[in-house]
């Protein structure tokens, strides 16, 4: 752990793929077109990516499909060769990325353990010694000599996972291992991650599960079209990725300046307004003045008849000033589909305590119990508070002075 050498060092890594445009890959074509170079398009999968991973770190790689995540992982595992740049790995790397590589449906569970285990780098005596443990972990004791093709996908997955966690590698590369399996399986994965973390192993996790990245990764890399678009603490990077994803969601009808948006859209925000006491839109409220937030919503899913509305006011640097939330439960008693129902939520602040500065309001409509977002608009309403008194500090708590003279 105190090792000064980083577990992984990647310098200016670039990888290009040649996508052949002329589909024919026959010798005849080669012979008849031997003068003209093959026509192909170059796809730059990775462009000058550099980073270091210290030993024992859990790092998540996120990014949209085709951003180069898996290519990066395949270069780290030596499956692909880089075109430019250097990759240095200190320690034994797990030789495979997905679960169940080398599994053959025609072989029995036992035979598959020995074959896939060999790919994983486990010796035969070792596999013999741990065989009972592997089968036990996979809960397949009574299916040891059944062919894999007769297994359910869940059984196969349990076997693959039970085997994969036996790997000795100091650097583990995992590609979307969490994308499959039920809740129980994912819990097993997380328990294993926790154990790896304790053992000081380095783990590189490629996944779309941003929550898992937030929970388990010390750090995250964001890839965008083959370029490193972000590198930092996991929550920061996942939030940035969410914003980038949200930007792709259509929010033109909202007429808001900065909208970073995500959620299941079972209930959507149809409009947000910041108003003064006369009901007129005003983004420049006065300290101590009246402020009203109005949020319009539309229910789009039959099964939704209650939700939470959360308003969060943050300073420009991200510091949350306060958060207000209230349940919208008025449809719960009606008991029929509210699909298509629209409504407006109002939140009034009689005396705005904020002093001079720039702030934003984040709006989220979410599931009442789990809290998962229906529609989240990060920093949806930027506003500027004007303090006529030019006072120091953050807040005007609305305190009052009393002066008493003693005689």
């Amino acid at each position: 752990m105190s090792d000064a050498l980083p577990a992984i060092r990647v310098e200016n890594l670039s990888k290009r793929f040649r996508i052949r445009l002329d589909r024919s890959s026959s010798l005849k074509h080669r012979l008849t077109h031997w003068r003209s170079a093959s026509r192909y398009r170059i796809l730059e999968a990775l462009h000058e990516v550099s980073f270091e991973v210290p030993t024992g770190q859990f790092i998540g790689i996120i990014g949209h499909n085709g951003s180069g995540k898996s290519t990066l992982l395949k270069i780290l595992s030596r499956i692909y060769r880089p075109d430019d740049g250097r990759v240095a790995i200190n320690g034994k790397v797990s030789p495979f990325l997905e679960l169940g590589v080398g599994f053959n449906p025609e072989l029995t569970a036992r035979e598959n353990v020995f074959l896939s285990g060999a790919i994983l780098g486990l010796s035969r005596p070792e596999l013999h010694r741990r065989f009972a443990e592997i089968i036990g972990f996979a809960e397949l004791e009574s299916f040891v000599d059944h062919k894999l093709k007769n297994f359910s996908s869940g059984m196969e997955l349990r076997l693959a996972f039970a085997l994969a966690i036996q790997a000795h590698a100091e650097v583990l590369l995992m590609d979307e291992v969490l994308a499959v399996g039920d809740a129980g399986f994912q819990q097993k994965c997380f328990d294993t991650f926790a154990r790896y973390k304790k053992e000081g192993r380095t783990v590189v996790l490629v996944t779309h599960g941003l929550d898992a990245v937030n929970m388990y990764c010390d750090r995250a890399l964001l890839l965008d079209h083959g370029r490193l678009a972000g590198d930092g603490p996991a929550p920061d990077i996942t939030a940035r990725y969410r914003r980038a994803m949200g930007a792709a969601v259509d929010s033109s009808h909202l007429n808001l300046e900065v909208v970073d948006r995500w959620g299941s859209r079972d209930v959507v925000v149809t409009g947000i307004e910041m108003q003064d006491e006369r009901g007129v839109e005003d983004r420049n409220p006065l300290t101590g003045g009246f402020v009203r937030m109005e949020v319009g919503y539309l229910i789009q899913n039959d099964s939704v008849n209650e939700f939470n509305c959360v308003l969060r006011v943050s300073r420009q640097d991200g510091m949350v000033m306060w958060e207000a939330s209230a349940p919208v439960t008025r449809y719960a008693a009606i008991g029929e589909s509210q699909r298509g129902t629209t409504g407006t939520i109002r939140y009034d602040v009689p005396r705005l305590p904020l002093l001079d500065g720039s702030y934003t309001v984040t709006v989220e409509l979410g599931e009442r119990r789990s809290g998962s977002a229906f529609d989240h608009l990060e920093g949806a309403v930027p506003f500027r508070v004007i303090d006529r008194g030019s006072r120091h500090g953050l807040l005007d708590p609305g305190g009052s002075w009393t002066f008493m003279e003693s005689t």
């Binding site: 005849k28 499956i79 060769r81 240095a88 080398g102 025609e106």
Partner: protein, 314 residues
């Protein structure tokens, strides 16, 4: 065998104690893959493994009837039957091993795209099950020869070992070359099929070098002019073919010393020949061995340069 020499840290390269463990691991993986392929190959047939022994026996039966009963090719060749059987067993190994290994890379796309290991392991593993069958078949041939009292024990039998090594290097070189090209050009499959047909007749499976020289009118009358010069040319070509040389020498080493070494045929008969210059004929001697070396080196180099992009090409 062909570990990529890409940008690794000194830390990984200088991992002194790690090298043998990596070697052990890859040896273990090779065997595990070979055993799996062996199992899978015979899993869906009623007779299973017996097929690999029955096939050469059937081919032998057909060839024997045609060439002995119809064409009398055995004339003057001692113990023709057992020699034919040995030729067929050797040829079957050559043909099946190269054909199976050719698909080794193209047929393992899933593994290559998802796991790292030296790719040559797949070709070696694919060849091993043929090697195993060949060794069993070879033992059976020797047993049959013992039963027929057509075997002559002697120290020369030890030469079988280097001959088998030579044969394996030849097969592996061809397999590496074909499997690497097959990834992008499936045409090599068809070309190889035709080429094998040619090689079958050009490798003395059902005749010996001595027989060809007899047809040239030379074998028993050294020093005289050949009555059929084109057979002489054929004999010279055949003597250069490593498969011919291996089959001939296996016949001599494993079964009977009556069947001469390739070398003694070349030096004894071709050199003794009026038309052929002695120096010219003995130049033929190292040709089969050089060809094996050349084919192996060419195959290994082709494989190595193409293996870099197998994961992308597949």
């Amino acid at each position: 065998m062909f570990a990529p020499a890409d940008a690794r840290t000194p830390a990984t390269e200088a991992g002194g104690p790690r090298q043998p463990s990596a070697f052990r691991h890859y040896r273990h993986l090779t065997l595990e893959l070979a055993v799996t392929q062996f199992k899978l190959r015979y899993t869906k047939s009623a007779l299973g493994y017996a097929w690999s022994l029955l096939k050469p026996a059937m081919l032998f039966g057909i060839t024997y009837v045609i060439f002995v009963d119809l064409f009398h090719v055995e004339d003057g060749t001692p113990d023709y039957g057992i020699q034919l059987l040995l030729g067929i067993v050797t040829w079957t190994f050559f043909a099946e091993c190269t054909a199976a290994s050719m698909q080794a890379i193209a047929g393992s796309g899933g593994l290559i795209r998802k796991a790292y290991f030296p790719r040559s392991i797949l070709v070696i593993a694919a060849s091993l099950s043929s090697v195993f069958t060949f060794l069993i078949n070879l033992t059976l041939v020797a047993l049959i020869a013992v039963l027929l009292h057509q075997i002559d024990f002697g120290l020369r039998m030890l030469v079988v070992i280097p001959l088998l090594v030579e044969l394996y290097f030849l097969v592996l070189g061809i397999s590496l070359f074909l499997s690497a090209l097959f990834v992008q050009y499936h045409d090599v499959g068809h070309i190889w099929e035709v080429l094998m047909q040619l090689l079958f007749y050009g490798s003395g499976v059902m005749f010996s070098l001595t027989y060809v020289l007899q047809r040239a009118g030379l074998a028993h009358r050294p020093g005289t002019a050949p009555t059929a010069p084109h057979f002489l040319w054929a004999a010279q070509l055949l003597a250069a073919n490593p498969i011919m040389q291996i089959i001939e020498d296996l016949r001599h080493a494993l079964v009977t010393p009556v069947a001469p070494w390739t070398a003694s045929v070349v030096t004894g008969h071709l050199v003794a020949l009026g038309q052929t210059h002695p120096l010219h004929a003995s130049l033929l001697l190292p040709v089969p061995f050089l060809l094996v070396l050349l084919i192996f080196a060419g195959g290994a180099l082709t494989f190595r340069s193409r293996a870099r992009t197998f994961a992308e090409d597949l």
